[in-house]
């Protein structure tokens, strides 16, 4: 049975996304929610990378010994990789802000339970 690696990669990305949303929704510990969100971001990144896959494609660096038409026909699609690099940076900065907030709230409330810290304050 020949396994299509791109299809498997899409499935992995999809399952990462679903696991991430599940963790962000149903787990009570804030750190576990954040790990779930990281899964979600990574799943989307993997999805993007998989989209740029070209069977038998070469790395999209135009070396001096290539012709333009050969390069255009065989290189993998470079745009998704640029998007992923930007998205990884966005994800990292957001993660830093979330973790900073959780740190302060943990010091204040002494707990990491989302239902205890983030409940309705009854205004």
């Amino acid at each position: 049975m020949v396994v299509d690696s791109q299809l498997m990669s899409f499935f992995t990305a999809g399952s990462l996304i679903v696991i991430g949303i599940f963790a962000a929704l149903f787990l009570d510990n804030l750190i576990k929610k954040i790990i779930g969100l990281a899964f979600l971001g990574d799943g989307v990144n993997l999805f993007i990378i998989t989209m740029g896959y070209k069977p038998g494609g070469i790395v999209y660096i135009f070396l001096p010994d290539m012709t333009i038409s050969n390069f255009a026909q065989t290189s993998a699609y470079p745009l998704p990789f640029a998007l992923v690099l930007t998205n990884i940076v966005i994800g990292a900065s957001t993660l830093a802000v979330i973790l900073g907030l959780v740190l302060i709230l943990n010091k204040r409330h002494g707990s990491l339970s989302a239902s205890k810290i983030l409940r309705d304050k009854g205004e």
């Binding site: 996304i17 949303i21 962000a24 804030l30 929610k33 969100l37 979600l40 971001g41 799943g43 989307v44 999805f47 993007i48 989209m51 333009i68 038409s69 255009a72 699609y77 745009l79 998704p80 998007l83 930007t86 998205n87 966005i90 900065s93 957001t94 802000v97 979330i98 907030l101 959780v102 302060i104 709230l105 204040r108 810290i117 983030l118 304050k121 205004e123």
Partner: protein, 499 residues
């Protein structure tokens, strides 16, 4: 000099100023001077910039870029590929000019109020305000959907920072909730964008529309429909439409008044920008319009009925702001030129009026340090001028002539009747009346009823800058109310292009 470079300056100037102010944190005088200079220049740049496009890096499409097109094979230069945009493109026309100008005005008054109300203005807070403005200008200008996503994430982080910096009780919890929810909606929006990329091979909206209209892409393909639903979901988060209305109104209530004024401007303009992109890309699908109208009606009903039930006046304003977003959505969803013009005009009016209300009611917080209507009362005798200005702001929000929201709501009702949906017009009129009632309830409990004995009114004078900001907003409201053509003439070209 290539004046089209001013399009990029609209983004680069506030970012550079923000970074500079962040470095200068704790040097109060320098922060005040640089912040005011940037805030003054920001609304002026869009007035000076000529209409056109700006291609970042100078990468025009190959068909117009003969140096780059040299030596490329005919499979690229002879086909549609030569018309596609190579890099990030910003489009600046009359509608963007008006919206960025209004955003600049709101930013100016927010910075002006912030600098004069706090003794030691924080460079970091000014950084957040300017980064948010820069992101919103980029979101309004960008024709590249991934660039829009990047700036949308920056704007979300800036909003979280503005909430964290307010010092109001429970603001950290609100900020954490907002960013947790944003980290679910953001990646899903990106997933939608990436599905569009996968199907059309482009991130430039103009090129994507070309591909969809000219048969390169099957318009009914399931991936495209999934992309539409995910982008719509991300749009709901970015603008604060239901189911995100509770967290958005909580964010408005936990920010300082000038911060809340700016955050609501961000939500309104993000709704407009992403809504326009959804209409441009997906208007061939009739369900898009039905969905936008449906969500907007729910937003109006939920927002305004919930506003009636609140006791904290900042929550009342927050829910009213969310309810007014529904009017804008209906204008966009109707899909006719009059409807879209009316929706965009309502967006401009609503951002001005809600900023007016937030800064106006913010004076109450300044004097009494509380926002609970159960404990307030009798503020009219403390400062009657501000009470009058706030009353006029409330009349403006309800749509009383000759103020601006009357013109835009009238246009919206006319558009809905012309489209064959008079029920929407009836709901809009009903909810405007209830908005007025909600505002009068808040106004009465804060200003008109007798002052409770336990209420402590501080002796500090309301800064002149706040009153100047309120008067300026009132002048804008009256001007747009008496001469709506100033705004609608700029918006009509964009609306006609979308139909």
């Amino acid at each position: 000099m290539d004046l089209n470079a001013l399009i990029a300056v609209m983004i680069i100037l506030p970012i550079a100023s923000a970074l500079f102010l962040n470095l200068l944190h704790k040097k109060d005088r320098t922060i005040k001077i640089i912040a005011i200079i940037t805030a003054v220049v920001l609304p002026i740049i869009p007035l000076l910039t000529p209409y056109g496009s700006h291609f970042f890096g100078g990468y025009l499409p190959l068909a117009q870029n003969s140096t780059l097109a040299q030596g490329l094979p005919a499979i690229i230069t002879g086909t549609q590929l030569s018309q596609f945009h190579l890099g990030i493109m910003y489009v600046f026309s009359s509608a963007q000019q008006l919206m960025i100008f209004i955003l600049g005005i709101i930013t100016f008054f927010a910075i002006f109020t912030f600098i004069n109300e706090t003794k030691k203005p924080s460079g970091v807070y000014a950084f957040l305000l300017f980064m948010g403005t820069a992101s919103l200008s980029a979101i309004l200008l960008s024709d590249d959907i991934f660039n829009l996503f990047v700036f949308f994430e920056i704007a979300a982080l800036a909003q979280v920072g503005i909430v964290v910096a307010s010092g109001i009780k429970d603001n950290y919890e609100t900020a954490l909730k907002y960013i947790l929810i944003g980290n679910i909606a953001g990646p899903l929006l990106l997933l939608g964008i990436v599905m569009l990329l996968g199907v059309t091979g482009n991130v430039n909206v103009t090129d994507m529309i070309f591909s969809i209209k000219n048969g390169f892409v099957d318009p009914q393909s399931p991936v495209l429909l999934m992309a539409l639903s995910l982008i719509t979901f991300g749009w709901l988060y970015a603008s604060g439409l239901p189911p995100f209305h509770t967290i958005k109104s909580e964010v408005y209530s936990k920010a300082l008044p000038h911060g809340a004024a700016l955050i609501q401007a961000f939500s309104v303009f993000t709704l407009v920008a992403i809504g326009i992109i959804i209409i441009r890309l997906f208007s061939y699908n009739p369900f898009t319009h039905i969905a936008i109208i449906g969500i907007s009606v729910i937003a109006m009903i939920l927002g305004i009925t919930m506003a009636l039930m609140q006791t904290d006046y900042k929550r009342i304003l927050g829910y009213l702001a969310v309810g007014e977003l529904g009017y804008i959505g209906i204008g966009l969803g109707l899909g006719t030129a009059l409807g879209i013009t009316a929706g965009l005009f309502q967006a401009i009016n609503e951002s001005v009026i809600t900023s007016f209300l937030f800064i106006g009611f913010g004076t109450v917080l300044y004097k009494t340090r509380t926002s609970d209507t159960k404990k307030l009362g009798g503020m009219m005798y403390v400062n009657p001028k501000v009470a009058l200005l706030v009353l006029l702001a409330g009349l403006a929000m309800a749509g009383v002539p000759p103020l601006n929201a009357f013109q835009s709501k009238l246009m919206l009702i006319q558009a809905s009747i012309q489209s064959g949906l008079p029920e929407i017009g009836i709901i809009m009129i009903l909810l405007s009346i209830v908005t007025f009632m909600t505002f009068m309830k808040a106004f009465y409990t804060v200003y008109m009823r007798p002052k409770p004995k336990e209420l402590e009114v501080l002796d500090n004078k309301i800064p002149k800058s706040t009153i100047i900001s309120l008067v300026a907003f009132l002048i804008i409201c009256i001007t747009l109310g008496l001469f709506p053509q100033i705004a609608t003439s700029s918006l009509q070209t964009l609306a006609a292009g979308l139909v």
